[in-house]
Symmetry: D2
């Protein structure tokens, strides 16, 4: 099993860190480049933020927690501390989240200038050893970069939702093109009961790679015998669920899920057109690719689909254990598709899977989907069952975040980071579900097997899909 | 009594109309000029609209109801019909009012270009007699210009609210300067019971000046004997109400008003700072001028103040009858103050009042405020009572819209305009109160004595104040 | 014109007052008698109150404002002051209106005992001259009796709504029987422009009959020329409105009304079954009598119907002037139908109308409905037009409260009653519409031509209907 | 380790079952006996139900799922199927939960008669072998009895909340008396890492004791090394949290918890008086016993307290493993206190703990609370530390339900019961937290170590407290 400590993400030297700083910061600007100042101000719901705010808040993070750690530091603009704090109660009050879209001023140009000023100050710090005296600073810079990468993804998901709210259905970019792939059989990859390790060592620590505090400590868990699907659920399979009356059958839904779809009249994934053949993407309205992973599902929808399919969602431990066996490859933001794709589109089929041992022993249950047990066997037959079932699952990383059945909570021995940054993750450990694997709008070097994302059960504006699991 | 038919507002010739069209349309652009594209997109509450939307909707009005009257007309952009319709159900469905702020596209530049294209088409119509064949068209153009003037005022009140929601409290314009005036005694101008005429002849009609349908027909009403205050209530007087515990005394308030101030924690006018010495204006935060009319009051606050002062609000008939005796002079948008001012600031004191008969007979009750009867006499004494009480009230027009005690409803014999434009006014005749006189952000030539504005009792983002009245 | 001062309702002597006290108090108990203790606790919406609460609050009114006026008075239970105060802020805080249904204790039996104790104390006062010393007390008793009569009506309307909320649709009484009548032509009764007097002299005053403060002062108004329908709109006529698509035509509705019926899915009067043939009554589900006045309409529905019919609602002055010409006869709570009935059911046809002069002059416009002017003439033809149009309208009192186009506001010269009882009416003068005439659940001796009832535009759980009017 | 299969709760014979049926059914009536018909109708919030409804719904459960399994069955009243179904979508539509308080009819007497009729029919079934043919029936009866026991507890918690909403703060029973005990030191009982079994075998099955489906299957979990507090947190300790500013320190709270206490103004447990010395109980207002377990905490409050105390909540597996070592003794509904009590009140101190091995090995961490680690050590010192730390925790059962850090979700291998009863538990597995151990209003024979209760994080109307845990 690969050691997490061997990851290239280990705490970098200042030189490396400076280079990474520039690269990450530059990408945020690049992602915002297709947006007008007006586009960058859109806030379409309380949960989403304007692109401009993402640009400013990520900058504030460095200014407040890195530059501001020096007592003599004078902020670029003191009044902005209130505007661009997100939820750090311990550093002071903040502008209401739901009203971020009301900040026409400072304008986008001012925010970009703010970024430049902070970047220049950071650059001086890198060049003159300004971050050497306090050992807390470099880890905070590293954290700030991962923080900014999270907001890069949010910038894209938030603007997608905002554009979808415009009756003109404008595209974020006109040059994006779909890359339809081919169907792949859904297969089951078994795993015997085993004690495995998941999670990451607490960071920062000697020699350890970056991980958020919520991923630590690395710890032992007992996995039950189970099987995991070889790939995410596809649009075609989800369409079969709809066609079979899935949205009209209360018995398939969690109680809260049924209440929600009744109340809000859900009959399909949020971005699907009502003819079920087209969907809204960052490239505008587009035909739905039947083979691509279904996307923008709420937990309620993912859970109902799994029940309909006679299966269940994986736990996060089951997911992580499988993911730790495969390299972090897939369809990421760098691939510039900005939409989930069929398997085999971005890489030679199966080449992303290191051959060999899975699950610490012989997979005892390599079967095609036609084996899905009674009572419900709904996943549509695939054209040509693979002759040789895969040893490892595909598309674990990228494409779509995969809902797990695990509620977001603390690992045994979890400790929040000290100080204000302890508010980063821990205080959200209630009422949310864990998602794993990253999406087509996640930066590749931001992800890892132990990464825990979390959203509320009704949320569907992230690139969220599912992979089936079942008891062995 | 001056005949309304003699007004210079009579239906103009095409030449005049074209000139007026250009002037009104140009002013909208001038009012939006201080705004960035981001500012122009702000929608701070459901009741308010983005400046950009005002610019677009007023243009759509001409395109839809004037240019579009020709069967062969091809719109500048068909998709915008849905976006820029406000509430005309009979011409089709529309974008939800509360979501106008989510339209980053079309951008401000596109909207300005849309204006230019429609203006050019209108210009061709003026030049080539395109509006001569259908007798309905010129009246619709005239209506469209008054419609646009209404939106000019809304553009200013809406952006004021939006900027106030920004913790930075940005100014709409940095070059606005207060013009403090001097105190003027509040005096009472009496009026005996009389049958008077109010309202305006139905327009369009032979020789008649423009008026909205809700001002017609001109009709007889019986005024009871009463007295009207010589000027609006001042900031100093309203401050005395606050200092006397006005916001804590349930007995002063309408039941709905008390519920509202309890629920939302109102303790002062919306734009006042909590130290009661500064207020938010279109020029930013500024010291409150004690002598200027108090502004941005809800009906609830105006009504409570009047009760505290031992007085009442005037009815709209009382107000109109008095206003018809004085010229339409005052502090308007053209004065470029964009804030209410003390009396005597914009014009030689009293010179705005034609000397002579008021109310069709001798004013029997010319008294200074110190005569305000029992039980409550709260309006603060003024420095030097005027030696000669005025025959006519001051500041009837401009400065602040004055809440009346009259609910907005149909005059006897009222007929809505035919067709879609019948939705302009009539369908709002429920649950709102009439305001009279215009404000410091109203265009001068948009106002007249018979003009009826209307808002809901809790509304306070318009420039709204009050003038006291009392039973004789 | 009959003088209001001649009314039999003049301030009674203590003997008369004591008798009236016993009668009114007894009727409240009789109205509650069909209810179980559980029924009497129902509160089906914030606007409605439990029957038990009505019984207790009306008792509290006498205890607080009459018995409690003596300094030495010891209440039956001090803790109940908080529970049974409705909205009198000046006598102290109160239990939240929306939570009256949560008071299982004191139980119904305790409340009935409370009534008995207060009645006994009142009786001693009547017998021993206890109300003679303070001249304010007898008027307060008189007011308290009218107050209790208002709550008698509310008790019935509130329990009707509560039972309707029970899927079993229980009847308040099983012994109620419909009394179908016969069709009567709708005719128009004209009235020339005239100055008339409406309202009632301020009460209490020398020799004056009881009236609420909101009915005073009696004052002069200028009525425009107009015509009033001879009877309320019938169920058959309202059914024609529904069948003609009335609920689907936005052009017929006030803006707020259209929003409301869209939001809540209204397609018919609240208590009508969806097959449009049966309705819920205090006697349970029952076939709709086509000839009976339509009932339980909101103002929105009444106003939309009038527009559809090419007519309008009357103003309250128009209504009152006509009503003052006819005796207070009709279908009241004493008739024990508890539902509106066809004309001619309870009294010999037309006998309720004094022959002679209407409107202070010759009625210039006595026409049958077939004269209803353009553009819309929707009121269904009646079987046999009356040979001689009536001089006075029918069914002005009883059956259904008639919505007027008048917003509820102060008459010129209005003064609230002094002290806490000033909160009775005046503080509600905003955002409501006036209704006139009483209903089939109003006590007969509680009504008069000047009586002003008021509810919000969406309210429809009272027995509310309409009578058409039109400009002459 | 005791085998769950040895429990006396194993599937009973018909004779035993009939006796148990009578006993359980009788207790429901006994619990409702102190209530008037009005009390029994109270519904103080959407989450709570009227006592009458509990009595009816539990009866409906037997009628629908046991008696109704016979095709020829004729219900006592067909219309009640709609009224008394709770949430079983698969058997048909149901009355809205939030409107159960509007059912004055059928009245309490009718519901009690309904119970008698169903009981008589059940009795005939027991006597005549009516439940022998279908093997599903006896398990359903057994389930129905446990279902009814759940509603017995809800009946008490719901009526407590309802009475608390009455400003008179009536007692459910006047004869309840507090039994103050003495302080007990909080000690820590350690447990090494171990693989343990939790859960219960799927029921019904050969020889197995009753358990709900959500407790199964019995399965292996890996417990991390940890320590569990010897007793629940006391009122005195919680008071120290309040006095230390716990409700004003955002850093102690989950994000949703902080938002909630800000929004609703929470400053203390729901039933505590604002002087922090008295609390509302089923016996009315009463002095708070400092040594008794703190009660009626939301998950938010429990979690914040634990953080303040430098500890955490236990997982449900940690809790269950410890609980499985001790007998099901404690303060239950049969003890007739109906309120949590100090330790040592109901039983000889420590006698409830079987001496011997805990946690499958030597407890390595038997310490008193003074050992609570850095950084926060807030649990107040106790008068006299125990000389010998306990081998097992006290008060695991009864007194208060103990919040765990575990979100309510499916065990590995979970299968819902087939048919409509599959809706019993599984569809609520989202967004709730697990509680363990039962309370002072739980029936003793309804509880077991594997029992999983679940509520939402803000809920505090159940008898909910907490026990601290910490990482070893």
């Amino acid at each position: 099993m690969p050691s997490p400590a061997a990851s290239p993400d280990s705490l970098p030297s200042a030189g490396t860190l400076a280079a990474r700083y520039r690269a990450v910061r530059q990408r945020s600007l690049a992602l915002a480049a297709p947006l007008s100042a007006e586009d960058a101000m859109l806030q379409s719901m309380d949960d989403a933020s304007p692109a401009k705010w993402h640009l400013a808040h990520t900058t504030w993070f460095f200014e407040r927690f890195v530059l501001g750690a020096q007592a003599a530091y004078r902020p670029v603009n003191e009044a902005w501390d209130y505007l661009f704090n997100s939820y750090y109660q311990s550093v002071g009050p903040m502008h209401a989240r739901s009203r971020r879209g009301l900040l026409s001023q400072p304008g986008l140009a001012q925010v970009i200038d703010y970024r430049a000023q902070v970047d220049a100050r950071m650059q001086r710090g890198f060049e003159h050893g300004g971050f050497d005296a306090d050992p807390a600073l470099k880890p905070r810079i590293e954290l700030g970069l991962h923080h900014e990468q999270q907001h890069q993804e949010l910038l894209l998901t938030d603007i997608k939702h905002a554009f979808w709210c415009n009756p003109l259905k404008p595209a974020y970019r006109d040059d994006l093109r779909p890359s339809p792939g081919q169907a792949t059989a859904l297969e089951w990859i078994g795993c015997d009961e085993a004690i495995v390790e998941i999670g990451a060592p607490a960071w920062p620590g000697a020699g350890d790679a970056f991980a958020f505090d919520n991923e630590s400590p690395r710890h032992r868990v007992l996995l039950p015998a189970h099987a995991l699907a070889s790939r995410p659920v596809s649009n075609a399979e989800y369409r079969a669920f709809i066609d079979d009356g899935g949205y009209r059958a209360p018995g398939l839904w969690l109680s809260d899920g049924w209440a929600r779809i009744q109340q809000d009249g859900w009959t399909r994934p949020m971005y699907w057109d009502d003819d079920l053949t087209r969907e809204f993407t960052l490239g505008g309205m587009r035909a739905i690719d039947p083979q691509a992973p279904v996307c923008h599902l709420s937990y309620f929808e993912a859970e109902a689909f799994a029940r309909w399919a006679g299966a269940r969602l994986p736990t996060e431990a089951e997911w992580e254990h499988a993911a730790a066996q495969v390299p972090v490859t897939g369809n990421f933001v760098e691939d510039d598709m900005l939409h989930p794709t069929s398997p085999c589109t971005t890489a030679p089929c199966r080449s992303d899977v290191a051959q060999g041992d899975f699950c610490g022993g012989a997979s005892r249950d390599r079967t095609t989907e036609s084996d899905i047990g009674e009572p419900a066997t709904h996943v549509a037959p695939t054209p040509e069952p693979a002759a040789t079932p895969p040893a490892h699952p595909h598309q674990m990383f990228g494409d779509v975040w995969e809902w797990t059945s695990s509620a977001y909570s603390a690992y045994p021995g979890f400790r929040e980071m000290p100080g204000a940054l302890g508010e980063y993750n821990g205080k959200f450990m209630c009422g949310q579900q864990v998602l794993r694997g990253g999406s087509c709008v996640s930066p590749r070097d931001h992800l890892r097997a132990s990464y825990r994302n979390f959203f509320h059960a009704p949320d569907c504006w992230q690139f969220t899909g599912l992979r089936l699991a079942r008891d062995a």
